[in-house]
């Protein structure tokens, strides 16, 4: 059977289906293990997973370009501190707070992009350096104890439920994911980006300004990290240093579970979403089993190795 072109383009990859299958399996295990899991509870978990999920979308885009962004955790942390201090608990500061936070986020992305493209520094080192500078900058700015808070009105974006049925944050996550999916798979610029991620040399020889697209991808990734940081702030309500640090490795684990390849040229937003949820559920499973919080790091590492090992072994056959 031949699908119409528009649908064929959106056909989920096997890797995405596999990740979704794994997610379903995990939910069933949770059901059986606790015996009281409701749809409500699943959605509530998804609500809390939204910051990770949104940041992972940006990381997925970076991996599509064959690069890596190790500054997303620090960028999300930056958003958290800046947002809280600019809001200072007052809803009327919202325009300023959002403009400032998002503006800074875009600037971080631009810096990353320029370091990687113009100065030709390998992406993981450039973003590692950025992350170091950001962390240092936050310490200098806050003196170690950040101030400010998020007003209750704004926290609705993570606390509130649309029609009482679905959390706002899940809606936001889904909308952002769909937009990125539409961008990559249904626009010309997205197609050029996908192609230059898969083979930058071939793209350049075909007249595509691959460098500019790489910069764009870093800006988008930092924007996603900033949005994720804002969502996270809405959940916690306060600012704290280092709150988002684990997101850097978490997002890599999530997109790898979702079928992303380090060689680039693959963009699977639904896979990344499934990966984020799997990671989040596994972590809550650890919590339910009352394992110490340290176990989550072991889980992170083991998942990355297992997912990549499976992908690579499959490729061999």
């Amino acid at each position: 059977m031949t699908l119409p072109p528009a649908l064929a383009n959106a056909r989920p990859a096997h890797a995405t289906l596999r990740a979704m299958g794994l997610l379903a399996l995990l939910l069933i295990v949770l059901f059986v293990a606790s015996g009281k899991v409701s749809m409500q509870q699943v959605l509530d978990n998804a609500r809390q997973a939204a910051p990770l999920g949104i940041i992972a979308l940006g990381q997925a885009l970076i991996l599509m370009m064959g690069r890596l962004d190790l500054s997303v955790g620090a960028t999300a942390g930056l958003a958290n501190v800046v947002l809280a201090s600019a809001f200072a608990g007052d809803m009327s500061n919202m325009p300023l707070a959002l403009t400032l936070t998002i503006g800074l986020g875009l600037l971080v992305g631009l810096c990353n992009g320029l370091l990687v493209v113009t100065l030709r520094i390998p992406s993981f080192l450039a973003t590692l350096a950025t992350s170091l500078v950001l962390t240092g900058g936050l310490l200098v700015y806050t003196g170690g104890s950040p101030r400010g808070s998020i007003p209750a009105g704004f926290r609705q974006i993570s606390e509130g439920w649309l029609f009482g049925v679905i959390p706002w944050s899940v809606v936001i996550w889904a909308v952002i994911g769909s937009l990125l999916m539409l961008f990559v798979h249904y626009t010309l610029a997205g197609r050029k980006m996908l192609f230059s991620g898969a083979n930058p040399v071939a793209a350049r020889l075909s007249g595509i300004a691959a460098g500019r697209l790489v910069i764009l991808s870093f800006i988008i990734a930092s924007l996603m990290a900033t949005l994720g940081g804002i969502m996270l702030s809405a959940i916690t309500g306060t600012a704290s240093i280092g709150i988002a640090n684990s997101y850097t490795v978490d997002t890599i684990a999530a997109v790898v579970i979702g079928g992303a390849l380090f060689s680039g040229g693959v963009f699977l937003p639904a896979g990344a979403a499934a990966g984020s949820l799997i990671l989040f559920f596994l972590q809550s499973l650890l919590y339910v089993l009352s394992l110490p919080p340290a176990a989550r790091f072991i889980l992170q590492g083991a998942i990355i190795i297992a997912a990549l090992a499976l992908a690579n072994l499959k490729k061999d056959r």
């Binding site: 528009a6 010309l188 610029a189 197609r191 050029k192 083979n199 020889l205 007249g207 300004a209 693959v266």
Partner: protein, 512 residues
């Protein structure tokens, strides 16, 4: 010296075969090699020569048959074992470490050591200087691998193989990148080795060399042995017949005579950091062949024409209009399509589908923002038929296709632009004869629609079969021009080897 026929050959290859997946690349190949014998292995690209060589050097295992070396079974587990059994190899794709010096490369893992096991660097560089001098290679052993030219890398590769004191030396196209003088040095070297009782297996495209140096010749075609003969029992035509398997006229289209039509491309004294000023013209509908040894400026020329490494000065006119090829986008906009020589790294995104790889220009010309998906599909289906690309469907990843079909996908992408000038760089490297022929006919058709073609190739048969005119490059400069009526392998080789035209005429006069 041909008379000595030893009772037991040094090596016998009996009916070996090799397959990658379902793709059989060697079928039932048998020959034998005596001590002190020079064997030439001949065949087109993709005939199975490199596979055979990789089996001998221990990089690949073989599936069926048996190889015996000095009456013992030979089935090396890796390159190390091959070396231990006395087989050394100088690859055409040289394995030179760029950050080590020439001496360090030559003696790699065989470095002279003092009694505490520490390397004797100074002694080693001295030894290397002596060795290189003895072999007649003028290279400073202190130079770094990364500074060597293709020809020098080849010489270092050969020197390294010799340091292993092999019983059998395998040379993979040793002269492909060498100038005439250096190639003579290598041929002379083969004779010296032979006199010392070392056997040589060499792979070559140059039939004159084969006729000159080989005691025995083995011709492969599509993985099968089509000829095994000893010196004096074969001639040049036998070799070509065995290599190609059919008459050349069936592979190449018949080129119509060009009427004295207008000039499509004219380059005047254009140059950049990699290319001294170069001038050339291509007429409308003409195929201009560019011949030359490896690394004589072909790549810089192709890159300049496609805008990847633009000309810094000089004038370029395309179809009468002056154009500035400052970027790949500018070259494409001007109407130039460039098929790169390395399709896997420079042409295709192997993990993406045929559709995406093929439609890059078709969609960007049809839309500015959204993707015209229905149109893309239609374009893909039409192109798949027109170029007879053999695949399951349009969604199959390009990496799963054969080399020939991959190349057709690249052609399909570029031809969607309806270019005025087509720059082909090694367009048929490593693809099967059937696809080759299809591509030749396609190019011929295009020229009849007024497209001009620059064909940069190392395949002499291809250049002669397809071009209307051939320019030869040597050390990044044009050394000669040959009209269709005067085409001969001999002439191209001489001009490519840096013997300029006047010299050639003078020699011709002396002979007469």
């Amino acid at each position: 010296m041909n008379a000595q026929a030893p009772q037991t050959p040094l090596m016998t290859v009996a009916g070996i075969s090799k397959a990658f997946g379902r793709n059989t690349v060697l079928k039932n190949v048998s020959f034998s090699l005596a001590a002190g014998e020079v064997l030439a292995l001949v065949g087109e690209n993709g005939a199975g020569k490199s596979t055979l060589m990789n089996i001998l050097s221990g990089n690949l295992s073989y599936d069926g048959g048996e190889i015996e070396l000095e009456a013992e079974p030979y089935r090396p587990a890796g390159p190390a074992e091959a070396v231990r059994r006395g087989i050394a190899i100088a690859h055409q794709e040289t394995a030179i470490m760029p950050d080590l010096t020439v001496a360090e490369n030559i003696y790699f893992r065989r470095e002279p050591r003092n009694r505490f096991g520490f390397l004797r660097q100074r002694r080693m560089h001295g030894d290397a200087a002596a060795l290189l001098a003895e072999l007649g290679f003028a290279i400073d052993p202190h130079r770094f691998g990364r500074t060597l030219s293709a020809a020098e890398r080849q010489m270092v590769e050969i020197s390294r193989a010799l340091v292993q004191a092999p019983r059998i030396l395998v040379l993979d196209e040793p002269t492909a990148s060498l100038s005439a003088h250096a190639a003579d040095t290598v041929l002379q070297l083969m004779k010296t080795l032979k006199a010392r009782g070392t056997s040589v297996i060499f792979i070559s495209h140059r039939l004159s060399e084969v006729m000159d140096a080989a005691d025995r010749v083995v011709v492969l075609k599509d993985g099968e042995m089509t000829l095994e003969a000893t010196r004096g029992t074969f001639d040049r035509d036998d070799l070509i017949q065995a290599m190609v398997g059919r008459k050349l006229s069936n592979i190449f289209p018949t080129r119509p005579d060009l009427d004295a039509s207008d000039v499509m491309l004219s380059i005047e004294k254009a140059h950049n950091s990699a290319l001294p000023p170069i001038s050339l013209t291509v007429r409308r509908g003409e195929i201009l062949g560019i011949a030359g040894l490896e690394g004589q400026g072909q790549k810089p020329l192709a890159e300049a024409l496609c805008g990847a490494r633009p000309f810094a000065g000089g004038t370029v006119r395309l179809d009468g209009e002056p154009v500035r090829l400052n970027s790949t986008a500018a070259a494409i906009a001007a109407g130039i399509a460039s098929i790169p020589d390395d399709r896997k790294h420079e042409g295709l995104a192997l993990g993406l589908s045929i559709r995406i790889n093929m439609s890059l220009f078709a969609i960007s010309d049809a839309s500015r923002f959204g993707l015209p998906l229905a149109r893309e599909r239609e374009f893909g289906e039409v192109a798949r038929k027109r170029f007879s690309i053999r695949s399951t469907d349009l969604e199959q990843p390009v990496g799963e296709l054969s080399g020939g079909n991959q190349q057709k996908v690249v052609f399909a992408r570029w031809l969607a632009r309806r270019p005025k000038l087509l720059v082909l760089h090694e367009p048929t490297k490593g693809i099967d004869v059937q696809s080759k022929s299809e591509i030749y006919h396609l190019v011929n058709e295009l020229t009849q629609q007024g497209v001009s073609v620059i064909l940069i190739s190392s395949d002499l048969l291809e250049l002669i079969g397809l071009s209307d005119r051939i320019l030869t490059l040597y050390e990044n400069k044009v050394t000669g021009q040959i009209e269709r009526a005067d085409f001969s392998e001999e002439k191209i080789m001489r001009l490519s080897a840096g013997i300029v035209a006047e010299q050639l005429e003078r020699e011709g006069a002396e002979h007469a």
